[in-house]
Amino acid sequence: MKHTSSQQHASKQIEMLYIHNQQWLRSWLYKQLGCNHLAADLLHDTFERLLKRVKNDVIEDSDAYLKTVARHLLTDHWRKKNIETAYQQCVSELEPDLAPSAEEQVEHLELLIQVDNRLRQLKTDVRQTFIAVQLEGLNYADTANRLAISISTVKRHLKQAMLSCCFNLSV
């Protein structure tokens, strides 16, 4: 990987940020998570994320900015945990001989996290419509009835959902 001098400068900037801030940020993360290992992991992820951003964005040397980045990672972490817990709940309710294999669980869970990440970004009503049609298999009429919207709104929601999930576009 070629390092331009501006990239090197930016990496150095991140390194200084880390040295000056890692202590308070780590203990702030610990307060949120209650676990040292997790706090250390997320601290690491926070600065990794900053390193990836170097090319396009301005990095502020401020507590609030660092916390914002860390907080997004925390949010991701908790959402992932929620998914894992919900998944485990389901599996634990199954009869033993019907339970999915370990590999299957890992694969399915990974997919769910990916899909959930995209669905997250949708507005609540758009998300509801999309889940009703795509996951529950309701037809447009039934979906429209259940959500008290018109069929053309159902179609509009589905289109919006695809634009957001596939292209990161919010219309």
Binding site: K31, Q114, T124, L135
Partner: protein
């Protein structure tokens, strides 16, 4: 803060691709529609790329909808957060179905949602709601969530909740926390609201909040690291925030120079237990960090520190007394 698309697809082409996907979903003649999509794709490499993104996501959806996976996927994805008393859909493989209303899936008639989340005594739990708001409930707390497209109201019925909002995520939906005594409106913040029997305490850690008195319609703005109490009769006092207020999220109760009677009150929130003490020791001072989930350990530590005896009966009855 989404990562930027490496190669951004122009909106018109993205929309066309989405339209084609919709058409394919509803088409009576799949092969004809596929042909037309094929022609559309050939217009340029950007068209082709757009369709590939659609197809990739469509494939993910198909994967999670595989017969064995579908009921689990439905359950997991339709609830953005855990609920405390939920029955699972046992619709797998023809087993009996126990109905459950997943969160934020519209109920038959109305857009408005009315959900309650609660923690048991000694429990603390965290949820991230669909709009990105994080709620962290301390022991013995009940919150009712009321939601429309433009406003989410969290009604704190009892207990204590910490809330972290990301105003930039859903700017079109406001957030409000209401209690019997006053309302709290945050702006991109991290704050705690606690309901005491006759007053509320709001502690602001980051950002800004507005607190308004339900009865007198007065309101105040808290700045970072400020806290205030508001009583039912309208008395208000503001003071510097104590970050120890947040320690419960990690299962720790931190106190400095707190009289024993208050300490016992605080501790009792976390346990179904009776803690009694002799009247003459009520004002002894307690300091330190104590786990909220191990009452015996706390009793041990406190009695050692203050040179007291404690007796334990029936597993739930503790009595602190002077050493004779």
């Amino acid at each position: 803060m989404r990562s930027l698309n490496e190669s951004t697809i122009p909106i018109t082409i993205a929309e066309e691709a989405a339209d084609w996907w919709l058409e394919l979903q509803n088409s009576d003649n799949q092969s004809l529609t596929q042909q037309r999509i094929s022609s559309w794709r050939q217009q340029s490499s950007v068209h082709d790329e757009a369709w590939q993104k659609i197809a990739a996501f469509d494939m993910m959806l198909n994967d999670i909808n595989a017969p064995q996976r579908r009921p689990i996927s439905q359950h997991v994805l339709s609830q953005p957060s855990r609920g405390p008393r939920r029955q699972l859909l046992k619709s797998l493989f023809g087993l009996a179905v126990i109905g459950s209303t997943p969160w934020f899936i519209g109920s038959p008639v109305t857009h408005q949602q009315n959900k309650t989340i609660a923690t048991k005594v000694g429990e603390h739990r965290s949820w991230t709601l669909a709009n990105g708001v994080e709620v962290h409930l301390n022991t013995d707390t009940i919150i009712e969530i009321d939601e429309t497209n433009t406003l989410m109201t969290l009604v704190l019925k009892q207990g204590e909740v910490a809330i972290i909002t990301h105003a930039e995520q859903h700017p079109q939906q406001l957030l409000k926390v209401t209690t019997a005594i006053g309302d709290i409106t945050p702006i991109g913040t991290h704050f705690i609201v606690r309901q005491h029997p006759e007053q509320i305490q709001v502690t602001l850690l980051e950002g800004q909040v507005n607190v308004s008195d339900k009865h007198s319609l007065r309101s105040w703005t808290l700045q970072e690291n400020q806290a205030m109490t508001l009583t039912a009769s309208g008395e208000m006092s503001m003071f510097k925030a104590n970050t120890q207020t947040l320690a419960w999220q990690t299962g720790i109760l931190i106190v400095s120079d707190m009289p024993l009677n208050s300490f016992v009150s605080e501790l009792s929130r976390y346990h179904h237990a009776f803690i009694r003490y002799e009247p003459q020791i009520a004002n002894l001072r307690v300091s330190g960090s104590y786990p909220t989930d191990d009452l015996a350990a706390v009793m041990n530590a406190v009695s050692r520190a203050l040179n007291l005896n404690y007796t334990k009966r029936f597993g739930i009855w503790f009595h602190l007394s002077e050493k004779k």
